[in-house]
Symmetry: D2
Subunit: 496 residues, 4 copies
């Protein structure tokens, strides 16, 4: 009984998962702006569980609340919401990177400009963030956070343009990478998506008021209507007019490239009930399982999903193969918040703190385990062992995505390349021996493309970005080329 929504992100004891770094939500012109933003962020919680922030504007003043922890730990509190008045707000939910758990890095960030205040939040990563930061510091800028968002703010503050919109566009055009960005000024909600469209961003509408958010599930929770995806390289400016009406303007970046959405949104990150790039994530995942059953069939008694991500693919695999689908692994949802630093003795229990074998469905059976992906393989190893201990006759591991060889630079927190299983062992056979399964197979890259988009990969012009599998990066990597500073180094160590 597996649940693809609650990623391992929250309680990853082994560092054996990928993490998305953020979710964003914004709304303009609605009297319940902060409450709706809180609900939207709650629906996007799977994109980041470390902290959440909201900035709103009440016609006179901007207000901000930032809290470590889950959205539901803070933003449902009447006292907190009372401090967020006004009819326009943007919010952000953030994933916990090691060590840097500091409120000053929690988005949205705010700056007071001569033309008025502006708050900015983004999901994704800039491939030239450090390069720009160094230029800014050389130019006398003071950076208080280690967040790339602050770089955007500085670029806006220093822009030669007059209007905030022009300044925002000026800044955004200097940024390279994969991102979805929202900005809030005294009258405007601005949304922007990177030129290649790596990170998702959708536009919705509630009571005629515009909403932007990372996934459609944030529209569903508040009963809002999906309007369309923000296009790659598009900047949409929504502005409240003196008469209360809202004017919406769209500008397409001249640097826009053909869209290449991140495949991992389909494989792992997005919520299964979301529609990303016009495609149901759940259906895509089931298709991955169906294609996997076709590519890598096996004689077996039960198909067992590996929680949490493997469930829809396992269902597809079972339906395609005719082998019964059963909950052979049970998940314990009561993993406390301090399990993050357990005693060594408890750490040794590892995967059992979260999962247990359902012996009645395993004992004496030939089991097909279906998982969404393999990163370092340490968890797979333990789960295969757990299934064997529960009496399985055979254990076949099927992975609903290709092997991962390359790091990401667009907002996914990947382990160092040499720690990826595919780089540690030479070929599937060796990987299978390490994991201890009777057989191991991965979905092909074309199997994945067909599951998501219905067609094989177009090598000349790939429909998605798939660099972690192929090494084919959709943008240049300026910071990586410079490589003179660590990615997240700051010379100030701080607790606040």
């Amino acid at each position: 009984m597996n649940q693809p929504v609650s990623h391992d992100a929250f309680h990853d004891l082994d560092g054996d998962t990928l993490h998305e770094e953020c979710g964003v939500f914004g709304i303009l012109g609605h009297p319940d702006a902060a409450t709706l933003t809180a609900l939207g962020l709650h629906a996007l919680q799977h994109r980041g569980q470390e902290a959440a922030g909201i900035v709103c504007f009440d016609g006179t003043q901007f207000h901000t609340e930032k809290h470590m922890g889950l959205v539901g730990d803070h933003y449902t509190n009447p006292a907190t919401l009372a401090k967020l008045p006004g009819d326009m707000a943007i919010g952000h939910t953030r994933y916990s990177t090691t060590g840097e758990v500091a409120l000053r890095n929690v988005q949205p960030l705010f700056a007071e400009l001569e033309v008025g205040g502006i708050a900015v939040a983004h999901n994704g990563n800039f491939t030239n963030g450090l390069t720009l930061r160094r230029q800014l510091i050389a130019g006398g800028a003071i950076c208080q956070s280690t967040s790339d968002t602050e770089v955007v703010l500085h670029l806006i503050a220093r822009s030669r343009y007059t209007s905030t919109t022009d300044r925002f566009i000026d800044a955004i055009r200097q940024m390279e990478g994969g991102y979805s960005m929202l900005a809030l000024t005294r009258t405007k909600l601005i949304a922007a998506r990177d030129p290649t469209g790596i990170r998702p961003l959708v536009m919705g509408e509630l009571d005629g008021k515009p909403i932007f958010c990372s996934e459609t599930c944030a529209l569903d929770i508040i009963g809002a209507k999906y309007v369309r995806d923000v296009e790659n390289g598009e900047i949409i400016i929504c502005e409240i007019q003196p008469d209360g009406s809202i004017e919406i303007d769209s500008r397409k970046s001249p640097t826009a490239q053909p869209e290449r959405l991140c495949l991992f949104e389909y494989v792992y990150f997005a919520r299964p009930d979301s529609v990303v790039g016009g495609r149901s994530v759940y259906v895509a995942r089931k298709n991955m399982g169906i294609n996997l059953a076709k590519e890598a069939p096996v004689e077996a008694d039960v198909v067992v999903p590996v929680p949490d991500g493997g469930t829809p693919a396992a269902l597809g695999y079972a339906q395609e193969s005719g082998i019964p689908f059963e909950y052979g692994i049970i998940r314990n949802h009561y993993v406390g918040r301090t399990f993050i630093e357990p005693t060594q003795q408890i750490r040794a229990f590892g995967v059992k703190l979260k999962h247990s074998a359902n012996r009645a469905m395993i004992e004496g059976k030939r089991v097909v385990l279906v998982d969404d992906s393999i990163v370092r393989g340490t968890t797979s190893l333990k789960i295969v062992q757990m299934i064997r201990d529960a009496g399985a006759k055979e254990v076949h591991l099927r992975v609903a995505s290709p092997m991962i060889f390359h790091p990401d630079f667009y907002g996914i927190d990947t382990p160092d390349a040499e720690k990826l299983l595919a780089n540690q062992y030479d070929g599937v056979e060796a990987m299978c021996r390490y994991i201890g399964a009777d057989s191991l197979q991965f979905l092909s890259i074309n199997g994945l493309y067909r599951a998501v988009g219905g067609e094989d990969r177009n090598p000349a012009r790939p429909q998605f970005t798939d660099h972690y599998f192929t090494g084919d990066y959709p943008t240049r990597l300026l910071d990586k080329a410079a490589e003179t500073m660590g990615r997240k180094v700051s010379v100030l160590a701080s607790n606040g």
Copy 2:
């Protein structure tokens, strides 16, 4: 994608669920006693999420730690475990009843007797607890908690017998109801199960050391072996001998009745990977779904489980009926801890904070929703509505247990009888109209008996207790007869 393990208990916004009140775990003679107890309680977390306590004995002194919150929030902390030395321990995890959230009520409770200290913890409820409490107070006893466990302690302290074992047996024989009880003295671990065997209690073994716990899943997590169920009316005394060996003695209560395990352990409470009364809970639940498909078939396009409890039954229903099983409802696991007191505005979003419809699997379809049980029906109403809003053509609700008419007095926290859906509407038709489904059907009592035990109910001598369905209570109800005091009234309101 539903998860029967994480009950609604933790974030029940509507009071529309049943709650078990506790889980217990104890171990004797193992050097890692406290750590193993913490892990066992973690596996039993679904039986109570309010608070957890552990008492251990280190050869000289008893130690206790009690904390509000999840086991994993506190007991994996090295500092906390360091305060729990010794090779014998018992622990308890407790469900939150309204208002009385006080550390002084957290078990195990301890008393210093003339013959030495004793700690006691139990799962279940005494049907003569208040009657005995009144007698004790009349006799000059001082009660510091509102817990029935304290009554047991007083009976032990006042017993005319000399040895702790005899005092414990003397006390336990005065208690009526349904319970599993553990006690720890300076040399002994004692386990007792009520004369009718209403609440479960199993015996296990790790490295030759005896363990007792509420469910087998607590054995599995630590790799312990299942030995046998403690019998109804049995008291098992394990005592460390001077040479370190452990002597185990069993006494059968003369008041023991034929066993009648609580059916709700199968329907809802126990973890699906547990084996209760020798039967796989998961298999029992799937059988309920299979029998339900036979008893209440319907033409439909998809079978959708209602999270969390309905999943195994839904799978059984799908397999029996041949209708595809699909995750039509997605659960949000990131429900924060303060969602318990949200603003009214957020409360209005109700079920959507935890569940969302997976439109791709619902729209235009005839949906069979399968749930484990219906208590008040308020959640069912909202879920049916959510499925309709997502575009379902028809919504048929199938419930994998009979209608609930009667309150429990053995440790399940039931709403007042008049709030039970079955008592509010006259017949299934009326209930169906209230809920807004196209059809509604419940599993029959015999369908349930066959799913669990393989046979129809024996009216002369029912194999299980099923009083919430039938009104046939397995014991007399002394406190209820007296009915002069509220069940959980204390005259002292306290925060500590």
Copy 3:
């Protein structure tokens, strides 16, 4: 600039002070009972800074709040006071003994009796508390705290008498030692003082409603009128009548002895603005300084008080001797709450964290330091050194009370006898050398008696208790004779 009110109790880094264990306050029939009790406890805060508790009765139910920390940290909070409705309350403020910082020990304690609830709080100590506790446990009583107050509750609960008043008197007559006790029932406020009158207890009145409290300063803060001292061995029962009037009854214990108030109340404990036993504490302290100047004159340039206790005596010494009084030591009031466990490096700064020399008044001068008492002498040593470091030509230490040789058993927390300075060195000369002063002199026992009561000590029938100076204990010491258990041992180590 020294302040005798804020004792070293709160931040005693050296264990070089005496501590009183408690203050009590109670009021009957006043609509603001809890608020007035909180204010009274605030005025009595110098008698105990660890924790404070209040119990009140609202006509239906008893309510209690207990909090670690200062009264002003919690009881001025509207939310806290709102949980304490009703027109009768008793409260208690408690000093922190090492290790046992547990809410379950915070008074008042409450018990539900057959005849109704009763709450009890006391200041002082029972010399037969452990003896009685052992008898109670042998008789089947369960003790949840390590507080002697619980023993009183058990004696009340087990009394053969019917009315609470008779039960209370029955219990109190079994207790030996020095104490002031308050009890609250559904209609009564009861006050009792030990047979020898060791601990103080006064009766006051506000708007015609009776008040009892440890010192008159608790009457002053709320503008209440002082009525009289509760006599030694007296029990005063105040009862609300059905018509709202209050009937007051007094019973004198047949075991009452001639009163012998504790001299340390005058020397150190009581607030200088309090009137204890009909005498101004401030005047008594100044008299001690005057008598000290007569008994132990010295040629000097300035009289400097040692903060905090030495200030009034120093003023008396200066006025009598004609030597100018100057603030030669400045106190830092901002000692944080965690200074209790500083790093070793910071601990080394010792007395300087709280005091600093005012060099302008010290340099080149012959200084008379006046302190209230010397316990272990470790602080005196450091202060003399600090004064020398600031350039004093001579340092003469004058102590406004006699040498301390004996432990207390009536509620003052004294160090072990062998750690008392007077027991470590043979004579004043040796003590003076240890401390490093040019001369050292103590007030004589008759000088102290005259300062407080105007007459020499009557050896046949001492007017006060002075056992710490003389070894002449006013009661038998039953627990000490038995001496089989440590004074505060419990076999359960607990954090809650």
Copy 4:
């Protein structure tokens, strides 16, 4: 028994006091840099109790800790100090201004420059801070705090000069007002005092290592030697050389004016044991009392200081007048931290929460109350009433400083001018009637000058700044002239 050290700042219920805004401490080249800084800040706690921060540099990285609350609440914790390695540190303690209780405003502030990191902390206020801030924002700077310190950082970051020293000097020369400033770079500790020398700053030395701090009491606590005052307009640069030696360089600002130290440092702010501008604060305060006795004698029985500030002046008054000095008002030091927001009912007890009359010294007596200053007069009113209630025959109030008519702009938080008592009533007679005293007199401006400096005020070239009394401001007031923005307004309201 009054204590001039612990200002009302901490628990000012009426807003009837003046507040200094900060204290600073820095040390270079000492292995215990952070611990010594913590101790120095503890000694300077009276200059600000809201929060404290320390920045240090360990040869590789800067580290910072910032905490709300007292120094002793956090910085004595071994865990906190362990996070502050290195042999150079600066620290800051800050007074709580209303509303803006935010960690992001706690100093020192830090910026990463191209030439390396720099941390800055200051005491005082810039009279052109807002003007500069607006210019900076217009130039594209982003301000994260509302602190003027950030303005300094921006000026440093944007300076055209190369070395940090030159950049610092460049920045400081643009700032107007009254301030003492410390900066820390990777090799340097820099100290600067404003051109008029309004705020104090002293240089000390420990084990040959330079220290700078606001007052000498911070040198005394760590046993450091006073070297000299930093001169007005002086910038002292201490730099660690490669061989570990320290080079010290001094530069005098060309804008330096004749020094005019703030008289309120002597009247109220500085600790009595500090030496400010070469004069003992304690002696200056006693002199104020002596001069007051000469200027404003009265027939009376006792001289009673008004806590806390009035004590030394009262002693001087008593010595000069021959009227006995007595503690007629007792202070309660146990004012809890939440007293800041008490219930209305408790607020009504007002001054009594902190002070009580010592009736034995008041009743039937003619009382001279001596206070250090009168701001709004609300506290004086209550204290006079309290003294009358305690039975005084006459109450004469003598104030050891002149009447306050004008606001401060150099770091003292003054109430709005129209709330100052001297502006509310026309003349001393009317003020006396409002306060309810039998007579009221203030020290003359010349009496104050003579008490501090030994000479009358030189009207042509006043030796001190005395603008709150005279309106003669020592600098121009640029922000005030502009007056387009509120003094502490930010458009972002934030909790973090």
